[in-house]
Symmetry: C2
Amino acid sequence: MTATEPDRLTAATRPAPAPLDAASFRAAGHALIDWIADYRETIGERAVAQLPEPGAIRAMLPSRAPEFGEPIARILGDLDDIVMKGVVHWQHPGWFAYFPANSSYESILGELASAGLGVQGMLWSTSPACTEVETHMLDWLVHAMGLPERFLSTSDGGGVLQDTASSAALVAIVAARERATKFASDAHGLAAGARAVCCYTSDQAHSSIEKSARIAGIGREFVRLIPVDDQGRMRVDLLAAEVKRDRALGHLPAFVSATVGTTGVNAVDSVPEIAEVCRAHDLWLHVDAAMSGTAALCEEFRFVNAGAAHADSWCFNPHKWMPVNFDCDVLWVADRAALVRALSVLPEYLRNAATESGKVIDYRDWQVPLGRRFRALKLWFVLRSFGLEGLRALVRSHVAMARRLADRVHAYPSLELVTEPALNLVAIAHKGGDESTQRLIDAVNRDGRFFVSHCRFHGRLVLRVSIGALATTPAHVEAFTEHLLAEAARA
Amino acid sequence: MTATEPDRLTAATRPAPAPLDAASFRAAGHALIDWIADYRETIGERAVAQLPEPGAIRAMLPSRAPEFGEPIARILGDLDDIVMKGVVHWQHPGWFAYFPANSSYESILGELASAGLGVQGMLWSTSPACTEVETHMLDWLVHAMGLPERFLSTSDGGGVLQDTASSAALVAIVAARERATKFASDAHGLAAGARAVCCYTSDQAHSSIEKSARIAGIGREFVRLIPVDDQGRMRVDLLAAEVKRDRALGHLPAFVSATVGTTGVNAVDSVPEIAEVCRAHDLWLHVDAAMSGTAALCEEFRFVNAGAAHADSWCFNPHKWMPVNFDCDVLWVADRAALVRALSVLPEYLRNAATESGKVIDYRDWQVPLGRRFRALKLWFVLRSFGLEGLRALVRSHVAMARRLADRVHAYPSLELVTEPALNLVAIAHKGGDESTQRLIDAVNRDGRFFVSHCRFHGRLVLRVSIGALATTPAHVEAFTEHLLAEAARA
């Protein structure tokens, strides 16, 4: 066998495979790596979130694609000249808005390697390493996070990477729907069933739960948004009552999503109590730990795992607090058979000996899309370069910063903590009421060094400080605190 | 305003933000860029698809994540020592299996820039450039591909990037379901409707259509797989009859997916005729041009656009034949309001002035996930570096190579063309029957220089030759042809 033959045959006459040849790619790639490092080294000097006028970026672009190729240097130059005029700096040390969306150097390299390889992992056989590294990373994380062994690939369960917790919620809801209808809705559709499938989550849960249930044909009406207590946790008594009511009405309760770290105030539902309701009524228990699951790396924060042993599915986002760049959500299931049966289609063109041997995992059956890139590489790079101790140190430092901020706020006369911070998010209100809080948010953001976002909690406007960017240090939070308190005096 | 203050404050004491500091990232990044270029320059010397034993890759990995960080050089070294033992070389010049999954140098740079920026484009306001470059690229492509103006963002429609055509099909089906039920299923669920929503596609359509309909609660039974003609095109007479039958049964026909380039033999449905049926019965017409849409860059191949003017949604995959690395699917809709209404949830924590002004696009309402990375960068890089002429030359060269191969096969006594190749896919059968074709497939692949896959067409086993890798030249196809014919003589 001479695998090189066609290349030898044509070495002399072979055209460049694309406008950019290997030498130019090397030069441009080195320049782009340096551009990224320069950006990250100086990011703190930029205003975090200065928005252009709507349409201003488009106005800098020609109205038609070029007929002939442009030099790569000009294209890279437009990153500064055009793109930078319209990006919000999510990697900034003063990033306290929404959620941390860490893109570490390690994960950038992992993403680059994945793009460079350009392989497809839809089946084990279309790139075995793509599947096996992924399975292995998710088993590593089960151990590293102290999660139940039934999530291991060596059990009846296993893990899979999804793009986001939204997609994880969708496939979990579909699997739950099918388990509840005994796969009758998969075969004949929901319209054939006399009973409405019901889903439950708290009114502080992420919007993706409602969205997924709507996509899955369940309907907004049958997504029961259960009220929360004064700390933002689902009222389990009301959940139980609602499930009973639905049963009495002849509906089919199927799915509960508990939240570990709500988007608003980072509340952690009481998963063990919710699990009891699920057990009593045979409901699929999904845990959305997108925001706060990363904390389980540290033993002292393993309260985020409480009840996980009873979860049918559990997800968290390494692309939030764990520094793996977007997109990277981990979903574990306790019984992979239910998930795979709900999502499997095997057309002839994908049949292969490995799949039929039953010895391999084909992740296409664990997700909505067919195709998948080598997303596990960035997780592998981050886990190895940081080491678990490095990641724990990061989590601990953010929690400590949040704690210090919370103490200062608590001691400040005109501000109050809306909830007791569980981890790295501080929820603050001005005692002067919503108008004062709004003025405070605007004033804090106007400055340009920091960026916070807001939510409403029990009707009240909240200034959220989400601390978790890789670049954020205690000194940044200290400077932010001084700024916040100074503005609070004026708000 | 002094945006730099916290950085100045802490410049001396600030710890490295991660194990990899900027200097180490530069060095590792340069090395990885060179590794990718080395890989691509020598990829033709490798066997395309040599599979390890199941579990062999995992067996090389330690059973637990490391407690302490490892040097980046060792991690990068494992790309060769571990990963390369289990990848299938999708970028190989002898890649004729499944579909082309081109990851050009340009798109690798675009993906790298996106990871380096690490911004979120869920809302316009969370990084305006992310949204505006995307909108602009998809408008560029409408013009470049000669698609209808109603897909432009300046009309009532518009384009959005999805990860895959599977996800595009899912959101199109959900929008179609809601249009058909007048958003009653969104509000009350499919179970509340007395009528079953019906979807139609050919029995050669991609598996994602059936999968999406099942996810959407429609049920396998109500996905009508319409038989195809001898060239693999949906039988429009049978479609019309099936729709009428469903109406007579009291069902609710809602959605038709026409295929432009079936996965099996790359057949192109008669979209104009299908559109007539859709118009007569008020059905949502989706066109899945994932495989072959790229051909529309060339005027002479615009038959792939026939009927597009009547499509409610139309998608294709730049991550297939257009050399933009996975994942990158373009979905256009004629009426964005239906899509957005079906997928929109607006929690308080995402409210912002720009959204409320109505002047901006928030792409989170156009897709399943909430989050999104800056995926348009790689499309921008490819369109500019290749130029439209460069992309057209690529498409034309692949079609010409396929044509030459088809002619040789047609002239060869023991082989036959299963269908007349429309573009870049050649569907071949051995006249000796399925066993001979299977022996031929195995023999062609055993050699290691080339890799083909298979399908079944009207019950018959088919050797598929999908020509579209960036690295493939006429000489590779010539060498492949000689190899194929030599093996055919023995099969």
